[in-house]
Symmetry: C2
Subunit: 338 residues, 2 copies
DNA sequence: CTCAGGTTTTACAACGTTATACACGCCGTG
DNA sequence: CACGGCGTGTATAACGTTGTAAAACCTGAG
């Protein structure tokens, strides 16, 4: 049988509320009383019943993290950092995966879990601004990632345009002139993606053409999509001397195709990815990549959500997390090798 | 404001309990009444409060999934399948990561979340049988993975010994004679790991020596550990003609080292991994691996936990999931290549 | 028309917690 | 020596749901 406040109260010979006060570190309790009650708590091994507490307080102690896919190690690492940050505030993380589909993202953002969670951290891919505009404001929402919404929600991300420009600049500084972009979205006329924009801006700034024929659109975000996009570019007769991919799995998929076609990385084609997943450090050719500060992103996301739980919710704001360009063999070449 | 049963009842002009009966599909409700109440429910947008329901019923509708690490894509894929299976039973998945440390695993298994979750799916690495023996039986527990416990809990896994033997047999059939094993545990005198046992058994069965000098112990389970282990073996002056790794990330880490040392895979050294993660299909050399049926494992785990929630808990049993050996370039070589 | 037997609906009491409002001392002040 | 004020503890009412038991309502037989 579970032991409740009532049992502890009976054991200590005090009222239920006094025990509750001790448990909650209420101020006005004499040290003597506090110790007496604590002794009973320890003796009976009391643990608070969270359901009852939640019922009373209207909070569940759970925040949801909704991600497009867990298969991408970037999200796995991010998840770990969110869990860590949440547990420091005695919060628990519920995981949803949306598959990056607009319907699922919509469902999640509308709060089909509304009765379970106190807050939501969402990393949208397909979701449109209008989908969020008429959202039921019940549950605080924090957005993560590349999409750029002009909406009254906290948004935590690195500066994707600047990061993409850094990546492309790195390629240009290495003497590359034809930089392909892998991972645009097929279904957007004017791609909302900031990474494409960064690619375009930096090329233009360098006086190079931002050749849309070198932009490959894809359906998904995985290795296979990167491979498909790379094949598509090569099969179209183009032979860029560099590739900037939307993320690391796509970059790795592209490198696989280059390898199959007998093209050397980086001698023939240099490759830069995005997210700096562990996998990129152990291929036959290690991958140059933009490395976001995942720990910071997770921490900031949790803090933002929790800050909105109180009555005095702060102004929605855009929070920039740190990032850096990590240079490896896919652009620099193998140090010791010929 | 949230709308409760009381509000719906007032709106429909019936008692609270009648609304509750409709919500719960209780039998004895006339169709007319059911429709009237349903109309009010829809009109007000009622959603049940789970905390209250939990308080009353003693169930939370949440199961926890505790994994050693999310970074390993195998666990990410497994998580996705568990979430899918759980949602089909209207259950929600809470994610914990233990880091594969015994302390964390112990904490989780002892149920520090006991007040929140109905059941627990645990994939232990370091945890010992004795740690589980004196467990508080409150929350149903299902074990996952390679560790072999003789305990009254459901255990879902593939036949690790058989799978490891299949992997090693494949190498032997290709003519390899010195098969190294990467990924034993440093801190176990008699390694409990079934995959090492399979390696040993198959070599012995083939009349080959199971040379313990070719078994590399490691501390972790990631790419870097595999790389370290491979370096260790090569630096010790050994030159095996095949490597069987505990999992895919370690196999990939090992392949990176072979590449650095100028050794060709599979011509000089063939490599087999375990888990068949997506990453293995896109390296410069694609990876032969044991591929467990992750979808089945997730589904079986969820069903096992939920089956134990009722009063008539079934006998604890060991459930074998399917697997197969997927042969790729790291053992077969590149088809078209010289 | 009454009453048994069954179905449908209702009132009320839990579940374990916290908030509210109040009672009880004890102090120092007028 | 009353009296307000403060610091401490207590009874009681919620929170939203479901199980229990009983009330109200039918139906058809005697």
């Amino acid at each position: 049988m579970r032991v409740s406040l009532k049992d502890v109260a009976a054991h200590a010979g005090v009222s239920i509320k006094t025990v509750s006060n001790v448990v909650n570190n209420y101020q006005h309790v004499t040290p003597a009383m506090r110790e007496r009650v604590q002794r009973s708590i320890d003796a009976l091994g009391y643990q608070p019943n969270l359901a009852a507490r939640h019922l009373r307080k209207g909070r569940t102690g759970i925040i949801a993290l909704a991600l497009p896919e867990l298969g991408n190690p970037y999200f796995a690492e991010l998840t770990a950092s969110v869990i860590d940050a949440a547990s420091q505030h005695d919060y628990i993380v519920l995981l949803d995966h949306t598959g990056g589909s607009r319907d699922q993202e919509l469902l999640v953002s509308q709060g089909f879990r509304a009765r379970v969670i106190d807050g939501l951290i969402l990393s949208p891919i397909e979701l449109e601004a209008e989908d969020l505009r008429d959202r039921d404001q019940d549950v605080p929402l924090v957005l993560l990632g590349e999409r750029d919404y002009d909406l009254p929600y906290d948004h935590i991300a690195i500066d994707n345009v600047a990061a993409a420009r850094d990546a492309v600049r790195h390629l240009i500084e290495l003497g590359r002139r034809e930089v392909a972009f892998i991972g645009a979205r097929r279904d957007r006329s004017e791609p909302a993606q900031l990474r494409v924009r960064g690619w375009r801006e930096e090329l233009t700034a360098a006086g190079l053409p931002a050749d849309e024929g070198l932009v490959a659109a894809v359906d998904g975000w995985g290795h296979a999509d990167g491979a498909r996009a790379m094949r598509h570019i090569l099969d179209s007769g183009r032979r860029p001397d560099a590739v900037f991919a939307y993320n690391d799995p796509m970059a790795i998929g592209a490198m696989r195709v280059l390898h199959e076609r007998g093209l050397r990385v980086p001698e023939d084609i240099a490759v830069v990815g995005f997210d700096d997943v562990i996998e990129g450090r152990f291929g036959a050719v290690t991958l140059t990549s933009i490395s976001p500060d995942k720990a910071a992103i997770g921490r900031l996301a949790v803090e933002s959500v929790l800050a909105r739980l109180g009555n005095d919710a702060p102004e929605p704001r855009r929070i920039w997390a740190d990032y850096q360009l990590v240079q490896r063999e896919s652009t620099l070449g193998r140090p010791g090798a010929p």
